[in-house]
Amino acid sequence: MNTQPHAPRWALLPLTVGLAVVVLGTAAGSQGWQAWWLSGADAVSRQIVWDIRLPRSLGAWLGGALLGLGGAVAQGLFRNPLADPYLLGSASGASLGVGVYLSLWGGSAWAMSGWLGLGLTGAAFVGAVLAVALTLLLARGVQQTLRLLLAGVVVGVVLGAVTSLISLLQPQVLQAMQGFMLGSTAFVSWSACATMAVVLALCLALSWVFARVLDALSLGEATAQSLGVPLPLARMVLVGVISLATGAAVAHIGLVAFVGLAAPHLVRSLVRCTHAWRLLLSALMGGALLALADVMARVMLAPQELPVGVLTAVLGGGYLLWRVYRDADTGVRS
């Protein structure tokens, strides 16, 4: 089963696909591919290609990579193939952050200066991180996986209810929140790309360091402990990685379903390798998946655009369902 030497080769596939799709993404949009070679002469076409399409394509890739990495870390840490990066309540926290922000300052004079000028993105990020913190508080730390998962579910449901309550009391918030829930890469700027890139680099480095702990954990909690790996520290850091990665992704591209769940599964079905490689591959796979979905979302109804979250939900859900039925038929366990 030691097929690790193949892992670097496998990494080339999602990396190449991802990069190719990002480049392809600069040619896709409501203005058609013509903008691509008009960009040499025409200032507006240049702006469309370089300041709109490239950052959003790259943003889709980075957001997908963050979700893929978050998903792989969550599945390894919780030893549960159903774990997804939103499991610790970050998604509902981000929605609540957006809801609170909109209901307090939506359209009012403070909106620009509110929350230190961080705006909607900052509100989503703060909401996601606070929700994870609340989950950790309720679970009394990261020591017990089951308690952590349970607390995450509870926080998710309760914060979801609070968000519903806010939108009930202030229906004018509802519309803007729906837009956020749909998930879209249309508003990603270069600065958002920079933020996500920094977070991705940080999260990859941290999870790479603790990847061996995930390997040990896959043999069971007791075995991991007897192997002498720094379990408590690793749990703390990896939970931080999950919340940081999903918080950054959700804040910039909204709620995008299934990428965090499907990317690690896809990697596992392609190659068997240690967690160090699995994490990297999942990030690359997530990036490629979301970048691809984003280009499809732009092309399918052109010149109109689908919210990419809708597309990933349909495609990702379909893929998982297909895998479940295939595995059930052939008796394979993933």
């Binding site: 409501s30 939506g106 009012s108 004018q172 879209s184 109109q304 655009e305």
Partner: protein, 323 residues
Amino acid sequence: MVEFPTSGPRVIYPSTAWIRAFAGMTPSSFWGVLVCFFLSAFFQSAQAITVIDDRQQKVQIDQAPQRIVSLLPSLTETVCALKQCHKLVGLDRYSNWPDAVKTVQRVGGGLDPNIESIVALKPDLVLAAGSTRGADRLQALGLNVLRLEPRNHADAQRVWRTVAQALHVPSADSDRVWQGIQAGVQAAVQSLSPAARQQRVYFEVSPAPYGASESSFLGETLTRMGVTNILPASMGPFPQVNPEWVVQARPDVIIAGDSSRASMLQRPGWSRLRAMQGQRLCVFKQDESDMLVRAGPRMAEGAQLMADCLNRAAAQVDTGVQR
């Protein structure tokens, strides 16, 4: 020039520095300054105007915009009512009045404006709602974005004047049109019969059901007409209403959109409500609803629709239904 109240548009002319300089001035220099003042006032129309939008952002508009993108129907209607319709090059998908705008290119909606399409249109002014997603992004891409959201009667006037200033429409002209609209609203208010004013009204804006309270734009119109809204201002502009509560409040008239009619009859106790009988239930079609809910230049037509409904309801004879 019309004197604006302090709550009016916060327009900063470059020439206000002259006005401030009047304090502490010798008589000889006074006349020189006065001449300069009138000269600057004369050239004002060709000068840059700075407008402050609903997010307290200063937007400088150097000359009359020639390519306008509007992402809110009421703002589209305002532009057209200011006779600048021909300058619209891009619209949100919900703008549908006047007919002249139906051929203008669509660039998404308030939730999903198509950034790329808007930039490609090279607009020199983008009118957006305060809640429009991506307005920050459009601004960052170098477009002139004015965020305005008319939510009530006071807002409507402020937005009207701000848009007029931004489009470099002389304030005399824009104020004349506005006064015409207000005269229309006043006429609608006065067309109510004394009996119609005695009624208690429930205004349903969507079948969830959400109602329009006294603090909403619609509620303010009803208040001006002198009728009683069963939803007090304290409930917020568009509260979600418990259907049972409406049964208990026993309104005399129900005003609703087309989408509400079917679900209303399903609600327990509603079929026996006095307001559900005959002409007491006013159901408006989509194009009429647009007039009612948009705080724009068609508010007089909207008010007249409401007034006609209330008059018809007051004239309705009870047919042995329990009150």
